[in-house]
């Protein structure tokens, strides 16, 4: 998989209440959720981001609640992938299960600022900053089982495929 987009930086411990506040959880409509994506971390986020953009965050991204509304909001807003130093485990699981590409890397945060464009090549395991002479940054390899889930198109397709 390859992704190219502008990046938006966030800090450590971005919780799922910040990604999609519970006041919007009376629906699971992706369009409505997308309109409030990252609202309590950066109220203007949805207005300034464009489809294809990439979220770059620090440690423990997606901590807190198990709400799948969080990766749904990010995906429906048009974010192509999330790169973080580490992910909280339920968010990590949810992202693979429902098909939001996420990658672990700790080297990118210091290298880039908001609005810079990056190119992610998950097959090669690299991230390049566009128009920069810097060496590409390495992505932590995606575990083989998670790759299988991605190839199948998420958990539900994976378990249906396994049966046939």
């Amino acid at each position: 998989m390859k992704f190219k987009g502008r990046i938006w930086k966030f800090g450590d411990n971005i919780d799922t209440d910040a990604i999609i506040p519970a006041r919007y959880l009376s629906t699971s409509d992706p369009e409505i959720l997308a309109a409030h994506c990252m609202e309590d971390a950066d109220p203007g986020f949805v207005k300034k981001m464009r489809p294809g953009d990439i979220i770059v965050a620090g440690e423990n991204f997606g901590c807190g609640s198990s709400r799948e509304h969080a990766p749904i909001a990010i995906k429906a807003a048009g974010i192509s992938c999330v790169i973080a130093g580490s992910f909280a485990r339920i968010f990590y699981r949810n992202a693979f299960n429902m098909g939001l590409p996420i990658f672990e890397s700790r080297d990118l945060q210091a290298l880039v600022s908001d609005g810079r464009e990056i190119e992610v090549d998950s097959d090669e395991g690299t991230i390049r900053v566009v128009n920069s002479a810097e060496e590409p940054v390495r992505i932590h390899p995606v575990p083989p089982f998670m790759q299988e889930l991605i190839r199948a198109g998420g958990l539900m397709k994976y378990i249906s495929k396994k049966e046939t």
């Binding site: 519970a22 423990n60 958990l155």
Partner: protein, 425 residues
Amino acid sequence: MGMTITEKILSRHAGLEEVQPGMLINARVDIALGNDITAPIAIAEFKKAGGTAVFDRDKVALIPDHFTPNKDIHSAEQCKIVRTFAREQRITHYYEVGEAGIEHALLPEQGIVLPGDLVIGADSHTCTYGALGAFATGVGSTDLAAAMLKGELWFRVPETLKIVFHGRMRKWVSGKDLILFLIGLIGVDGARYKAMEFAGEAAGKLGMADRFTIANMVIEAGAKNGIFIPDDVTKAYVQGRAKRPFSFYASDPDARYADVIEIDISGIEPQVAFPHIPSNVRGISRVGDVRIDQVLIGSCTNGRIEDLRIAAGILKGRKAAPYIRLIIVPATPEIYRMAVKEGLMEIFIDAKAAISPPSCGACLGGHMGVLAEGERAVATTNRNFVGRMGHPRSEVYLVNPAVAASSAVLGRIAGPDELEGGGKS
């Protein structure tokens, strides 16, 4: 090679002799849980995958508890999806408003989750059932859909972090303070991907209510599950509730741990987690003058009868300070009934408390106690993230029930020792 209790439960449910941390396994699920927020997405995924019947109608629990009694039309529609599915599938453990309680208090109380079980729930606080010596973990809605369809799910066997409690709890200290102290010590990702096992002579002396509170909040340290070794206290709680067989597991003496943390609990005073992260804790003596607007006593963390008794002991003959909203939420109808019978409700009404039906609403800023801009709440709940209980510029301070009740009386964050005449226990 010896195994931990978590490894033993996982290996048994995967049909394997032995498992080791890092292994990916498929394991059988004893109970799969969803609520009115998470189940609608799971039901949609279940149907999209061609699902027509759940794997076992006795092993699925659907509890409308978050935005119930329905807070608005959208919530009513979500509850309707869950209700329709529960009727269609003849789900045994569906609890309608009036019978329903906060899921993580209700399921143990009704004997639906038991020691030795493997429980998954589309709610992060599913880890609460580890108090019974079960493996219980929060998952997303898609995982719930898969489990409802197949009765099994994939897991990565976690490493275990062993927490050993020594010493005796001081007066006004409870399980809430032990877990807040621990989260303050290791941080909100201090146990990320790991199991947390509670051991030591002081852990064995904890009652079930304190064990539930501690296991409930391991997710706030990033843990996959939290677990106590079942003992006589567990047996006394489960007897009379269980309607099916259950198993007690224990860790082997030569089990391997990622780390062992020893804590002398005698030195811990009541803890307060300041905004906006549960690890931002300090002892009650170091809080200073923090004026408040609202106090919430309830939730899956601290809405049990033991918590209400502590609050009532302090509120008896006292009133919430002027302009303070005191909201009390018994976690289940059974707890509500006990509070009425024991005369706690009269104490609460006299103290100017608003008593809510069982609901998760206020804890996550849904309804029944939402905060305005700039307001501060003291809450016995589990999260104090930005906007957790309402406006993004409101604040939540996490405490135990004794501190919450004392704070309501004084209008600022305070422990029972600051009350005139002290607290009664």
